[in-house]
């Protein structure tokens, strides 16, 4: 009981308005970063945002796993500090996408892991920012008896500017290469790819556009055959190469309506045109070719200070009019059950904030069971804690 009283006493402190977590973004229907909402997560899209969000430590709770999702989050965190007219940041664990690196063998390509992001930003009339991403890992221990060298090296660069109502950014994958899988000569290589985008605020409305592409080559060595590359059906025969290219074009419009100083209604509509192309697979049936998707999701979200110590947020999101995938055979399928409702909360302890997603566990505590349950056993999931100083 004493502990509970202490908890309540601790919560009864006025909050500051900074938010910082994947949980917040997801509860507002934005993915892990938003094209238009102000949040410390924005530095991963546009490093210039560091000028507006600095002097804090953030930790995203999770495991040391490579993959990251709402139900199985990855441990991440960073430190961001103002330094004169500049700001810098150090972030650990942002391992990015692992697309296509998993194969159908016990001994796989080395993951993109232990990511390190360094950021620097400044304001010289025009806000600018830069981010360098680096990751490296090596494993020379398997297979037992005759180990091979498996390694990964990755380098990325992010650049962004913000001036008045206009923001622009680019994030470039300079290199991302994993060598060695079942044998030493297997190679997974991401070619230079980029993301470029911009947003413009006009009369309370934000227009945004983003283009993202990736391109990978996966090569099986002369004495190797790789299976389940990219998807379960993709096979690469010895000495051949599969190419995998993706692209997403997003254009949208959003409005953040401040109902009062402690509450806002967020709406956005975006058109997303995607492609996913595979070429060179030895098992050709249903694999080689270009798949396309066209979706038009609408998001209605709210965020409100319920009390001085509690912020509650949520959204409903659904594809409207457009929402279908076209497979490589040209067959179109509507994305089923696209209606989603997410909820989240922030517990404010003064400069300390505990963000999380709410309502994600079932009655028996099962993760990823959105069955409409407000569980006090799992009060918050995908927790992110930030401390502002």
């Amino acid at each position: 009981m004493k502990k509970n009283v202490l908890v309540i006493a601790g919560l009864a402190v006025l909050s500051t308005s900074a938010f910082a977590s994947k949980a917040r973004m997801e509860a507002l229907g934005q993915g892990t970063e938003s094209f238009y909402l102000n949040d410390t997560r924005s530095v991963f899209l546009n490093p210039a945002a560091l000028n507006d969000t600095k002097n804090y430590i953030v930790t995203e709770w999770g495991t040391g796993a490579q993959a990251d999702s709402q139900t199985a989050p990855r441990a991440e965190g960073g430190y961001f500090k103002e330094m004169g007219s500049f700001a810098y940041g150090l972030y650990l664990g942002n391992n990015g996408s692992n697309t296509g690196r998993t194969i159908g063998a016990a001994q796989k390509f080395e993951d993109h892991q232990n990511g390190l992001d360094l950021m620097l930003a400044g304001d010289m009339g025009v806000k600018w920012g830069a981010r360098v991403h680096y990751a490296h890992s090596t494993d020379e221990s398997v297979p037992a008896g005759a180990p091979i060298t498996r390694k990964n090296n990755a380098l990325g660069l992010g650049l962004g500017v913000a001036s008045g109502d206009l923001e622009a950014y680019t994030n470039i994958t300079l290199s991302d290469k994993s060598e060695g899988a079942t044998v030493a000569g297997d190679v997974w290589k991401r070619k230079p790819g980029f993301q470029v985008g911009a947003s413009y605020k006009w009369s309370g409305v934000t227009f945004f556009a983003d283009y993202l592409n990736t391109s990978e080559e996966i090569t099986a060595a002369a004495a190797s055959t790789l299976t389940s590359v990219i998807n379960a059906a993709t096979t690469i025969n010895a000495g051949t190469t599969v190419t995998h290219k993706t692209s997403d074009i997003t254009v949208g419009v959003a409005r953040v309506h401040e109902v009062n100083p402690g509450a806002r209604i967020v709406t956005d509509a975006r058109l997303v045109l995607g492609t996913n192309e595979v070429g060179g697979s030895s098992a050709v049936t249903g694999v080689n070719g270009k798949a396309k998707s066209t979706v038009l999701p609408l998001t209605l979200a709210m965020e409100a200070d319920a009390t001085s110590w509690l912020v509650v947020r949520g959204n409903v999101h659904q594809n409207v009019i457009l929402g279908e995938d076209k497979n490589i055979a040209g067959q179109k399928t509507t994305r089923a059950n696209s209606t989603t409702v997410d909820a989240g909360a922030t517990l404010n302890f003064g400069k300390l904030k505990v963000d999380g997603v709410v309502g994600t566990t079932g009655t028996t505590g099962t993760a990823a069971s959105k069955t409409g349950v407000l569980s006090t056993n799992n009060l918050l999931t995908r927790v992110g804690v930030s401390y502002n100083f």
Partner: protein, 452 residues
């Protein structure tokens, strides 16, 4: 207990009086297939009964937590689910927002697919496609139910409250040659002491052609189609005196279902029972079969204010449901219930409102025939809703429901309480609660409302 005290201490904030959720009405005894509202209890959920109610609930956003609902398939899981149903232990995610604009109110709502429509399409699914087995794994190829529904609302108040609502849902899966669409229009009026509504289903189609292996009998191509005829839901209420209100509706849908599979018969039924391990028939009939669903509802309801704002609710209603599927050996569902409902809603504290109800049939009779003609999944759903074959009194109709609202100023979090057992298993329908107040699962079927 500690958790409860912690939450209680933390919620010491004045509440607002708006209520808006399926959970609230379920706790007060609502028993409608589509959870579309109650005539004698004010709640924003009533916009799906009489759309003119949007004039009473402008400037709010609603978020009903959930996911994709119950997957209606032979084993309860298909990927992706093509036929889904909203049920309070597995609610569908849905929500929307409403805004006042001068004398008008408009709104947008996502995901409120009709359960009635879904159940009819499930009933209309080919018995052979329902029994599709891939390898040793059941993989029902159900007709697609309505999905990704968008409701657009517009209304006004010119002395008389009025509103209209158009909805559309549609989708396709060309990999299995499946396609579906649904459209409806709702219109409603609210006068000083009366209200009326007319909700029309103007389009309801679903078809598919799949190669299936029904109960491992052998692969074959099956074409199936569900084609709805004009459906309507017309009703209203009238205030007799004070809060005493009489109300009623007629709900009717007709449809044709077509199935190209030609292997139905004794051998099919025997194989279905062998594969599923469930005694009974696999159902099905080749060709086109007509069906209709009609529900008549008439009742009285009232509420009484006690203790400076708390409410006691009471209602006595009669509801008759007839379902016919004109197989050669006609399937019939006949269900007549006269339930009495006594409910309460009390402001326990500034931040907590508790409510509950007890329901029991004064009269309840079923007379069901030939349910074995339906596909296996539909048989199960119909039996759960209306009982198995036979004429008998509906047993153990007494049900107690409870719910709560946690109020944080303009924000309220509604939910059902008492729906999980000591082992945290969740009740699947009214009357199966086990009497547990679980703090771990503080609320279920949560609906969050924010007024702005």
């Amino acid at each position: 207990m500690k958790k409860m005290m912690m939450i209680g201490s933390a919620l010491l904030v004045l509440s607002s009086s708006a209520f808006a959720s399926q959970a609230r009405l379920l706790a007060l005894g609502m028993n409608e297939t589509d959870n579309e509202g109650m005539y004698h209890i004010s709640d924003s959920r009533n916009i799906f009964l009489n759309v003119a109610n949007i004039n009473l609930y402008p400037n709010q956003a609603e978020f009903e937590w959930g996911n994709t609902g119950v997957d209606a398939a032979l084993t309860g899981t298909t990927s992706p689910a093509s036929a889904t149903v909203n049920r309070f232990d597995k609610p569908k995610a849905q929500g929307g927002a409403f805004k006042k604009y001068g004398d008008f109110v408009y709104g947008l709502y996502f995901g409120n697919e009709s359960n009635t429509s879904s159940l009819l399409r499930i009933a209309g699914t080919s018995a052979a496609s329902t029994g599709n087995i891939v390898g040793a794994v059941p993989q029902s190829k159900m007709l697609q139910t309505a999905d990704n529904q968008v409701d657009v609302f517009f209304g006004g108040d010119n002395g008389m409250k009025w509103a209209v609502n158009a909805l559309y849902a549609g989708g396709k899966d060309e990999a299995r040659s499946a396609k579906n669409s649904a459209a409806a229009i709702r219109g409603g009026l609210i006068g000083s002491n009366w209200d009326a509504h007319l909700n029309l289903s103007v389009n309801n189609k679903s078809n598919a052609t799949d190669t299936v292996n029904p109960y491992l009998i052998g692969s074959t191509s099956v074409s199936q189609e569900f084609k709805g005829k004009l459906g309507f839901h017309v009703g209203g209420s009238y205030v007799l005196q004070g809060n005493n209100r009489i109300f009623g509706y007629v709900k009717h849908y007709g449809w044709d279902q077509t199935d190209s599979y030609t292997g139905y018969g004794t051998a099919f039924n025997t194989q279905a029972a062998t594969v599923t391990g469930v005694a009974g028939a696999g159902g099905g009939q080749t060709g086109t079969v007509s069906g209709d669903f009609t529900s008549y509802y008439l009742g009285w309801g009232s509420d009484y204010t006690v203790n400076n704002g708390d409410k006691i609710f009471a209602s006595l209603t009669a509801k008759k449901t007839d379902i016919n599927l004109k197989f050669t050996n006609k399937s019939e569902i006949r269900n007549l219930i006269i339930p009495v409902v006594i409910g309460y809603e009390a402001k326990a504290t500034d931040w907590l409102t508790l409510r509950g109800s007890v329901v029991q049939n004064l009269y309840g009779q079923q007379d069901n025939k030939n349910e074995q003609n339906l596909n296996t999944v539909a048989q199960s759903l119909i039996a759960a809703a209306y009982g198995a074959n036979g004429k008998k009194t509906i047993a153990n109709s007494t049900a107690v429901n409870a719910g709560a609202t946690l109020a944080f100023g303009q924000l309220s979090i509604d939910g059902l309480i008492g729906t999980t057992s000591t082992t945290n298993a969740v009740a699947t329908k009214n009357g199966t609660n086990t009497g547990v107040l679980s703090v771990a699962n503080l609320e279920t079927s949560v609906g969050l409302t924010y007024k702005y």
